[in-house]
Symmetry: C2
């Protein structure tokens, strides 16, 4: 937005501003104060703080006015709906800015997937910025849909909504100075390079930071986060659907009282129903305050700190020269969102309209080789390496166990379930099978085409027939989630856009998903396990400790395949 004479006149009070917010107390992120002032808006931008007349006066007497929230790091695809539907929902929670890593889309469809995210967020009532996915594929041996190189990133280098390089998950390639990774870091060296690292090794952390990575959202303990903060890492405190690190990290901050200016909030991966239930970044603010953080500090973590981190000079503050992205709160103790404004306009009435044409190639992304019942047979002997789930966390344990068997083949029971991952981009026929402890499913199977980061088809169950049926259901719908039991499809959420997202409408997705969660828990899966998010991470070979890919079990600690599984 260019500053013009109309804005100057509104700022000078020579003419009434287009909109004036009056009667509220503003949260000042610069001084930490909260005080009474009018906020004058012209052309969607704040042009004055003080005493102003307006053509439209919004009475916010008794309320608090704070900057719109920023989600410092998220994958829009994880919400299952289209990017514009996610924004439609989350913006009403006060999140007016999204720093998005479209690496799911890039893994399936490459640049076409990134273009989809950019186009779909062009007209939403929020600021959607995009980081260039840095690890597509996640590891060189991954079976994903596309390889996204530094050369391909160059076309996005000067896009006004591209802020830098997305989370560098492959930290080994950084510390080993692999040329293809250094090329990407160099390309975005004057912007922000996001990180993704889980280690307490001071030398690995130092080297990773020295290479130019500056943020991390993977800290699960305060000790880790503080160690990294000391080294100059900007800490994104993650509170998503599956990974919920806020309590641990914020409790530490409150206890120690260190400076929080290098700390932000992010959701990373948060399902739409969780956003509706508890909120988005506003939930992070409320929870942090419940844990003892000062409200203004929590609001800073949700606003100014993130804007500073990404060089977003006109976001994150209620001040002249900033966009009028504003959240009206009922009070600093309760912190409930009463109204949200983007560029000075109330977001309440926005309804997302799907944009992707019916004949887009992004709608036909499931390309599997034929799968038959016998492909699920899994021979075992003596001891096997088994993926053990840890409720509420993405990391898994790598255990060795004597699996239940019949005729030399793994026979799932209430303790051990069967997991299969099937390549779906090039119909290569690659398929991995392994055992999982702690899922507990009986008499059925759950399948998903969302499986970070390569998004092959994952299915977990206790019998091969239901597992096969679940895979065929996903082939039929062009991707999605499905629950199968006793030879019948109970429910399916089709996710036809790259096998990741639905444009059928949020309500339909939510209702079906709620029914599916009931299905799954009725089939024996513990209540503290979110089956679809869990399934979507079991094939990701960058999160410890043991994962399954179409090429077989992968030991993340050693960064190598488990040669012999049994």
């Amino acid at each position: 937005m260019n500053f013009d004479s109309k804005m100057a006149q509104a700022g000078m009070g020579i003419r009434p501003a287009h909109t004036v917010f009056r009667g509220g107390q503003i949260v000042n992120v610069f001084t930490g104060e909260v005080y009474r002032a009018d906020v004058a808006v012209e052309n969607g931008m704040i042009v004055g703080i003080g005493s102003y007349a307006g053509e439209h006066v919004v009475d916010i007497s008794g309320k608090i006015l704070c900057p719109g929230f920023l989600d410092a790091h998220l994958h829009l695809e994880s919400t299952l709906v289209t990017p514009s539907e996610l924004v439609e929902n989350a913006v009403k929670c006060g999140t007016t800015t999204y720093i998005v890593d479209p690496h799911e889309s890039a893994n399936v469809s490459g640049a076409a997937g990134i273009d989809y995210i950019l186009e779909e967020t062009e007209e939403v009532p929020a600021n959607v910025y995009v980081m260039m996915p840095s690890c597509v594929p996640a590891l060189p041996f991954e079976d994903n849909g596309c390889t996204f190189t530094a050369e391909e990133m160059k076309q996005y280098r000067n896009h006004p909504r591209v802020l830098g390089l997305g989370e560098v998950m492959d930290h080994i390639s950084v510390i080993q100075a692999e040329p293809s990774m250094l090329e990407k870091l160099e390309l975005f060296s004057d912007q922000v390079c996001d990180g993704h690292i889980m280690t307490t090794d001071e030398k690995q952390l130092s080297t990773y930071l020295a290479a130019g990575v500056r943020t991390n959202h993977e800290c699960t303990t305060y000790a880790e986060a503080k160690q990294q903060c000391r080294l100059g890492m900007h800490i994104h405190v993650r509170q998503g659907s599956a990974a919920r690190n806020l309590d641990a990290l914020v409790s530490g901050l409150v206890a120690e009282g260190i400076d929080t200016s290098a700390w932000s909030f992010c959701t990373d991966d948060k399902h739409i129903e969780d956003i509706r239930r508890e909120g988005h970044i506003d939930h992070c603010v409320r929870r942090a305050v419940e844990l003892g953080m000062k409200p203004v500090d929590a609001i800073r973590m949700a606003t100014h700190n993130t804007a500073q981190c990404y060089g977003l000079k006109q976001l994150g503050a209620v001040a002249p020269g900033y966009w009028a992205d504003l959240v009206v709160l009922d009070g600093l103790d309760t912190l409930n969102v009463c109204a949200v404004y983007h560029h000075g306009k109330n977001v309440a009435d926005f309804r997302a309209q799907p944009k992707l044409p019916a004949d887009s190639p992004l709608r036909t992304s499931i390309h599997c080789a034929p799968v038959e019942l016998e492909d699920f047979a899994h021979p075992v002997s003596d001891e096997s390496r088994v993926i053990e789930l840890i409720p509420g966390q993405l990391v898994t344990n790598d255990i060795t166990a004597q699996l239940p068997q019949e005729n030399g083949f793994f026979a799932p029971d209430e303790t051990y379930s069967k997991l299969a991952v099937i390549e779906r981009h090039r119909a290569s026929g690659k398929m991995g099978v392994a055992a999982v402890r702690g899922f507990g499913i009986r008499g059925g199977a759950v399948a998903s085409s969302v499986a970070h980061d390569s998004h092959n088809l994952s299915v977990i169950g206790d019998n091969d027939a239901d597992m096969l049926l679940a895979i065929r259901e996903l082939q039929r719908t062009g991707g999605g989630y499905t629950v199968v039991s006793g030879g019948k499809v109970l429910h399916t959420v089709p996710l036809p856009i790259m096998g990741l997202m639905s444009d059928a409408g949020f309500s339909e997705v939510q209702d079906t998903l709620a029914a599916m969660l009931e299905d799954v828990h009725r089939l024996g899966v513990p209540e503290n396990i979110e089956p679809f998010i869990l399934l979507s991470f079991l094939a990701l070979p960058v999160i410890p400790t043991l994962r399954l890919t179409p090429r077989g079990l992968f030991d993340v600690t050693r960064m190598e395949f488990v040669e012999k599984q049994n």
Copy 2:
């Protein structure tokens, strides 16, 4: 600097780092802590913090290691020596980064002057960044050497050492949305636009900030600074030779305890002898601590805060991925600088080498029409508007007084001195004459070719003969400072580079200047007046209240010439 495998191996501890600083305590600007750690440096960049082996080990046992200081805003020309000589001196005080507005050079020589500053600082052991002078000339009716337009700035837009737009002194053109000013602000809207404003009017401040200006170094009281900080202004606390605002501002910060992350230090204009006497930004840190600020907070104001303000991602912290610009301090209580490193190298041995060729056109910048004795005659009657000096400040009072006279002409005495300003760029013959109260010179004259921002020739004295001789002396030397008494030139510092700088060497300038200060005070000028800096501001029509230009007396409050002076 590109990250490479050698740096990765040093960071990982696989090979010894080129240099390791060992035994000291590091100041952590992120957490506010101070603790013991090794700092490993490779290729001039910090690659590791922790426990490291090095090819070269610098033992700093018992010492404190903090980031190199940044001067958030200065005019290199004001130090009288060449830019490289200024750096040679100030870098030894720990200032390893300079954010320079070369608007003196631009006012005399336009783009050629800016190129000189860039070239002269190419090889110094410090980071010298340049802001594009925004107000050249300072006001449309000024008689300066060049007009520097947005169009001319475009060639510098992508220069790696250009960070944005220099101090926007003409705030009226901003709040009135004048197209030529908005064009400049727009050109640098994704970088930093520095400010220069002195008002407490909330609407003027709001509008100025709404237009994109984000820093200010002109606050003289804490109340002003806090008001601006609330509105989103980054406050540069100025401590120069003449303008010394640190005590007032830091005392307020200490008393109120508000967040200091939007506060920095700058020198603006500081003479070389003052740098040698009390230091540079290190002096600001020591003085702030004397006033009660926590040492780490004072160091942050001198380092991280400034780097953040200007988006200098690799400066302002002792952390991996940051340049090894480091200051070794003797302790956090004393804060004396023991050693300084730029890109890992000790700066102690640097000696500046003048680069400007002897035949450069920048050396012949004094172009006056012939001046004769009678041109200094100043007719007066009844009451006259008089510039009244305020010791220790740049602002002046606008008073009306009955001047001493002989035969209808002003006859200076111990109370009222005569000031003349003569156009020197285009030999136009324009010349202003007025009276000044409080300078006290008797039996002599002082003249200067440094006169912000147009740098015409200024001379102040009590008799026309000495004033004429002083002007002729400056014509002879191609610019400079001179003191004349009783028909004789007592001392001259020639400043042949644009009439602003000397490349004769710092010692010579300093020795002569010291002798000149003695001369001037012996001639009756009070000890609390620094005559040359004062003289250099008496012609600047953007600082209140009354100024003299070649076109006559100018009322800065009304922004108009005083039509009838007597």
